[in-house]
């Protein structure tokens, strides 16, 4: 036989090539380096439990799947219709049938026992050492730390967003709920996902072995910017966590008189503070009386909430953890820090040198242009006069300069 005769016809060859290429792309996709949202790389007890369960189940299912497919393929090829006479038709073979019922049942029991016990383990609440409320709303996550003896002691509530700061190697219990539609909270390296449902409080365990940043994403379609509703869990050594808590609860530092930031404070009070709370911010009436400035997002936003900006520059990301507050270089320093140094670098927050001013300016200039939101006047008219997300506020560049200067001091 000459070599040519053994080659497939051109069309078949092309089809085969496409199939091989597609399969290779799929397989190689699984080798992605630096995939931050990877359930196969657990970084805490809870995720480890899920992992310990899923790989043997996957293995069993995979082997069975391959065997079944191979047998089917064999039968299809070997017994295909070549015009041969119909073989004798028989019915029933009790021994085989019973065996083929009992065997899968046994396999299912084998899978079922560890599954059920994992489900119960992951629902455990008795060993909680720290409680954090997590609230989803279109399209960002709010975290509030209730007053408690847990978490090393928290004397007044802390409200933050985007980055969930937790003490490492500590059993944290999240209480999940939502202010508008159903969202779902998922930090793949730390635990499975759980829906956040308006009017209900669900609990989810969270534990990270080592300090570091663990990325996640809303996993229940929740509207326009669902894809931009990310979150990050930031684990700090318990001592660093205490530093973080103390910093969050520090008294408000008014900008120095006459500074750009002081002008920013006034601009912020006039344009932003009716939605965004900055704890400790006050206004002085002409008669000298001082009153706290209290945000009232209930009147302006459908969910009734906007991120608390008291300590904006202690977080590294904004607007649903979608954009970095740090420049790329500074960000890499934090994300790639070895665990021992991570806390120090994270707690340094965002300095003027490290601020990613481009994205923040664009956000303040015209937020809906940056992140799809339902936040024009027309759209608000369709939802009871309230926005979903942050509207464009029509500030000029010098006002934005002032606000940036002011926000930079929110450490």
């Amino acid at each position: 036989m000459s070599r040519r005769d053994t080659r497939l016809p051109a069309r078949r060859r092309r089809t085969l090539g496409a199939v091989v290429a597609g399969a290779a792309a799929l397989v190689l996709g699984g080798c992605a380096q630096d995939a931050p949202q990877d359930t196969w790389q657990p970084a805490g007890d809870n995720a480890q439990k899920i992992h310990d369960l899923q790989w043997p189940v996957f293995l069993v299912a995979g082997v069975i799947g391959v065997i079944v497919l191979a047998v089917v393929a064999f039968a299809v090829v070997r017994f295909r219709d070549r015009g041969q006479p119909m073989p004798e038709q028989s019915h029933g073979k009790p021994a085989l049938e019973i065996a083929l019922t009992i065997l899968p049942a046994l396999i299912l029991v084998g899978v079922g026992i560890p599954t059920v016990s994992t489900v119960f383990d992951l629902a455990e609440e008795a060993d909680t050492e720290c409680i954090i409320n997590v609230t989803g709303q279109q399209w960002w996550w709010e975290y509030d730390y209730p007053v408690q003896d847990g978490c090393g002691g928290i004397s007044a509530p802390i409200v933050t967003s985007g980055q969930l700061v937790i003490p490492a190697d500590t059993n944290v219990l999240l209480r999940l709920t939502s202010r508008d539609v159903i969202h779902s909270f998922w930090i793949p390296k730390l635990n499975g996902k759980k829906d956040t449902v308006p009017g209900r409080v669900h609990t989810l365990r969270m534990q990270a072995d080592e300090p570091g940043i663990y990325a996640g994403q809303c996993t229940e379609f929740c509207g326009l910017s669902h894809a931009n509703m990310k979150m990050e869990a930031v684990a700090l050594f318990p001592a660093d966590f205490q530093t973080w808590v103390a910093n969050q609860l520090e008294d408000y530092q008014a900008p120095a008189e006459g500074s750009l930031a002081a002008e920013g404070e006034a601009t912020f009070t006039a344009n932003c503070a009716y939605c965004h709370q900055v704890n400790g911010l006050t206004t002085t009436a002409p008669d000298g009386s001082v009153t706290p400035v209290l945000a009232n997002p209930d009147e302006f936003v459908v969910s009734g909430a906007a991120p608390n900006l008291t300590n904006l520059m202690t977080r590294n990301t904004f607007a649903g953890a979608t954009w970095d507050l740090l420049t790329e270089e500074c960000r890499d320093r934090v994300w790639n820090a070895p665990p021992e140094e991570f806390g120090e670098r994270y707690l340094a927050g965002v300095s003027a040198d490290c601020l990613n001013e481009v994205d923040l300016r664009e956000w303040i200039r015209n937020a809906p242009a940056k992140k799809p939101m339902y936040a024009t006047a027309d759209q608000a008219a369709n939802s009871g006069g309230k926005f979903r997300g942050m509207p464009a506020l029509g500030l000029n560049e010098s006002q934005i300069d002032q606000i940036i200067a002011y926000l930079l001091e929110r450490h």
């Binding site: 909680t128 409680i131 409320n133 509030d144 408690q148 009017g199 409080v201 609990t203 009436a285």
Partner: protein, 380 residues
């Protein structure tokens, strides 16, 4: 020149185009384009069908062979009677009545009209498909049964369920279970008899089933018209400061249920214990505390449990708001449960639009007239 079928579609096309033009000229609402696209799409689709009809000459005998229309095979079997014209007329009547009376009837009329049109189209198509009525019936069945059976089944089921629900809502709470035990038993016995008497004629079975179905639907209809039994809802929450500030019994208290059916899980459980102390237990922690952190701008479901041996109510101080200029109190809202019997429980849903910073007196839970029975509420 133009075949009969194509004339129909020419008319339809012209109508759609005219409608689209009239619409475009006369209406400029927000959603005009939706209807516009619909009408233009209809015009395109209809002209396409017109083209096909012209091309295949109504898929009939040659349009020029006049005598073939009477001698062709398809023309040999006379079409049977059809109920669809009369159903269509019913739909039309419903539409007209609905326009004057209620939108529901209008919508029902539209549905009936569409069904009648579609069924009629399919029927006339299938009856002329060939000269063999049996074959014609079979192709109609092959096309329509996969649609008709599920829809009819669903409608039948819906009617049965609705009728049963009306009957249940009409009967008193006590009579309901008894009646349904009897009906259930009758159905079981009936089924058993049918099954055991294999010789029973199908017409008898069908007759009995029809009578039962008619009985069910008519009873359901009568009871639906007659209305549901009285269902009393007694409020379990009051916002009246004088009621909330004491444990004296009011008329509402007497009627209020002492059990809670809320399936929702609670953010916090407030407990008044045997030592007349007030504590809060928050979800996720078993610990008792004198401070509760509840969310801002989000309803917090709260359960009150009375473990003491006296009847008390839980009062929630929803803040004291003052006018910053004058310092006078502008509002001091409260809410409270009805009196909760010993071992009883009651549910509250609390929402704080403003953080604790906004109130001059802290938000708090309290049992009125009991010294020291308070739990502070912190709202971030």
């Amino acid at each position: 020149m133009f075949t009969t079928g194509s004339k129909l579609f020419i008319g339809g096309t012209v109508l759609a185009v005219v409608a689209a033009i009239v619409f475009a000229v006369s209406y400029d609402g927000d959603r005009a384009w939706v209807a516009g696209i619909g009408l233009i799409a209809a015009a395109i689709a209809l002209s396409f069908l017109m083209g096909i009809n012209l091309w295949v000459r109504d898929s009939n005998v040659g349009g020029m062979q006049a005598d073939a229309t009477t001698t062709s095979a398809a023309a040999q079997s006379r079409p049977g009677n059809s109920m669809w014209p009369i159903v269509g007329a019913l739909g039309g009547a419903l539409v007209v009545i609905g326009i004057v009376a209620t939108p529901v009837v209008f919508k029902a009329g539209i549905v009936v009209l569409l069904i009648a049109l579609f069924e009629w189209l399919v029927q006339s198509w299938s009856e002329r498909a060939s000269a063999d009525p049996a074959f014609n019936a079979s192709i109609r069945a092959r096309l329509m049964h996969p649609l008709e059976f599920p829809v009819l089944g669903a409608v039948g089921l819906a009617v049965i369920i609705y009728s049963f629900s009306r009957i249940m809502l009409f009967l008193s709470k006590e009579a309901g279970p008894a009646v349904f035990v009897v009906i259930g038993a009758l159905i079981t016995v009936g089924g058993f008899l049918f099954a055991s008497k294999a010789t029973l004629k199908t017409s008898v079975v069908a007759g009995i089933s029809t009578i039962a179905a008619l009985g069910l639907v008519s009873t359901g209809a009568v009871m639906a018209i007659d209305g549901e039994r009285d269902m009393h809802e007694y409020p379990t929450v009051s916002n009246d400061p004088t009621v909330c500030s004491s444990n004296a019994e009011t008329e509402t208290d007497e009627r209020a249920s002492q059990t809670v059916a809320a399936k929702s899980n609670v953010a916090a459980t407030v407990i008044f214990n045997a030592d007349r102390q007030l504590y809060v237990q928050q979800i996720g922690t078993g610990a008792y505390s004198r401070v509760a952190t509840l969310q801002r701008s989000n309803p917090s479901p709260v359960m009150f449990r009375n473990l003491s041996d006296e009847a008390v109510r839980l009062k929630v101080n929803l803040g004291t708001f003052t006018d910053p200029a004058t310092g006078t109190v502008t509002s001091q809202p409260v809410t409270c449960t009805t009196l909760v019997e010993p071992d009883g429980r009651q549910f509250l849903s609390l929402q704080f639009p403003k953080s604790s910073l906004a109130t001059t007196q802290p938000y708090s839970f309290e049992v009125p007239e009991v010294e020291g029975a308070t739990v502070e509420i912190v709202v971030p």
